[in-house]
Subunit: 213 residues, 2 copies
């Protein structure tokens, strides 16, 4: 999320091919020889795996700024289809040059490892947020992850409507969660800034979080 430009650093502009995709257009197909990894510059690209019986599963939806199919670096062929969900622009980082750099430049490969490690951390955190069952609490958790400073603040720099699916909620649920939290004094909104208030004494009875084990 914050470590993306690293890829761009690795490859100058020689191995960088840009491509525009119409809605529904295929970027690559499961089984194609893995030739590049992609950076989504605009739009949205969905990865779909097809099973032998013809059914399919969604693996990921990469949005603007995200990188896609990194694992293809280490595979012979793509293991899924990539389809543009909306008109999209992508930049292809050719696998060959990339691997060449990684093989020669020790620092570069460490940087890539670090980048991945960061993504793993990020993704785990998101997954953990989704373990929280009620919308308001989930939203607070998300806000805490995004927040900085004391008191913790978050600058909301994109529409809630876009944040909602990331939280695994509908936008309506998010709005309601916001107003609940605001009413309870858990957050304060000023324009696009949300400030988290100190945790109050449990008004709901203790912890009603992740599935019991």
């Amino acid at each position: 999320m914050e470590t993306l430009q690293s890829w761009a650093d690795l490859i100058p502009d020689e191995g960088l091919r840009r491509r525009s995709l119409a809605k529904g257009e295929l970027l690559f197909r499961q089984g194609d020889p893995a030739a590049a990894i992609y950076l989504v510059e605009s739009g949205r690209v969905r990865l779909v795996r097809h099973l032998e019986d013809g059914s399919s599963v969604a693996l990921h939806t990469a949005r603007a700024g995200e990188t896609l199919a990194e694992a293809a670096l280490f595979a012979e062929a793509y293991h899924c289809d990539a389809v543009a969900e909306t008109p999209s622009g992508v930049a292809a980082l050719a696998k060959g040059p990339l691997l060449r750099v990684l093989a020669n430049d020790q620092a570069a490969s460490l940087r890539v490892a670090r980048m991945f490690a960061g993504q793993v951390r990020d993704l785990r955190a998101r997954l953990e947020v989704r373990n929280i069952r009620t919308a308001p609490e989930r939203l607070v958790a998300w806000l805490r992850l995004e927040a900085t400073g004391n008191p913790p603040r978050v600058e909301i720099d994109r529409p809630w409507i876009e944040i909602a699916p990331e939280l695994g909620l509908t936008h309506e649920a998010v709005y309601r969660a916001i107003s609940t939290l605001e009413r309870d004094g858990a957050i304060v909104r000023a324009g696009r800034t949300v400030t988290l208030a100190k945790a109050r004494a449990a008004p709901l009875g203790p912890e009603r979080n992740s599935p019991r084990t």
Copy 2:
């Protein structure tokens, strides 16, 4: 998930310290100098980040077989607490030796990068599964991810009770989803094997999946 032993490969036994944790015991604390990454051998360790205002968020819960705090490899200090949720056994992979290996052994650092890339892929897929709202459909998606062959089959090698939280459901919800799917003919169970049937014509009206955009 499948790429874990790699860590063990990197470090012989010199940098490998084992440690037992009582329930609630702290493995490390946010702010401590990052000294090692850990492999959970038994039990469950939770990572918690504390904010400046005293509140906290769960970042991850590492279970037996999983590795933990890998990002600490590239950081000065831990960015969260690690607490044993249950009595647990962990193996510490000292950061120093690990980094030394990675800095000298090109192949090793690439292997680590590959490992992380695989985890990223995995985690994204799990996240995608959680975007599915209804229990039966979510379960099918998960089964499809785990399935191999044609028709797609999955060997269930651990109790559903353990799988449920991974799906973000209670075990009761999972059981009900199973019986719904079985009743609808979407899956067939034989002992611990689940076989996915071909997708039937929509008995429910088309796609009621991830939050609409």
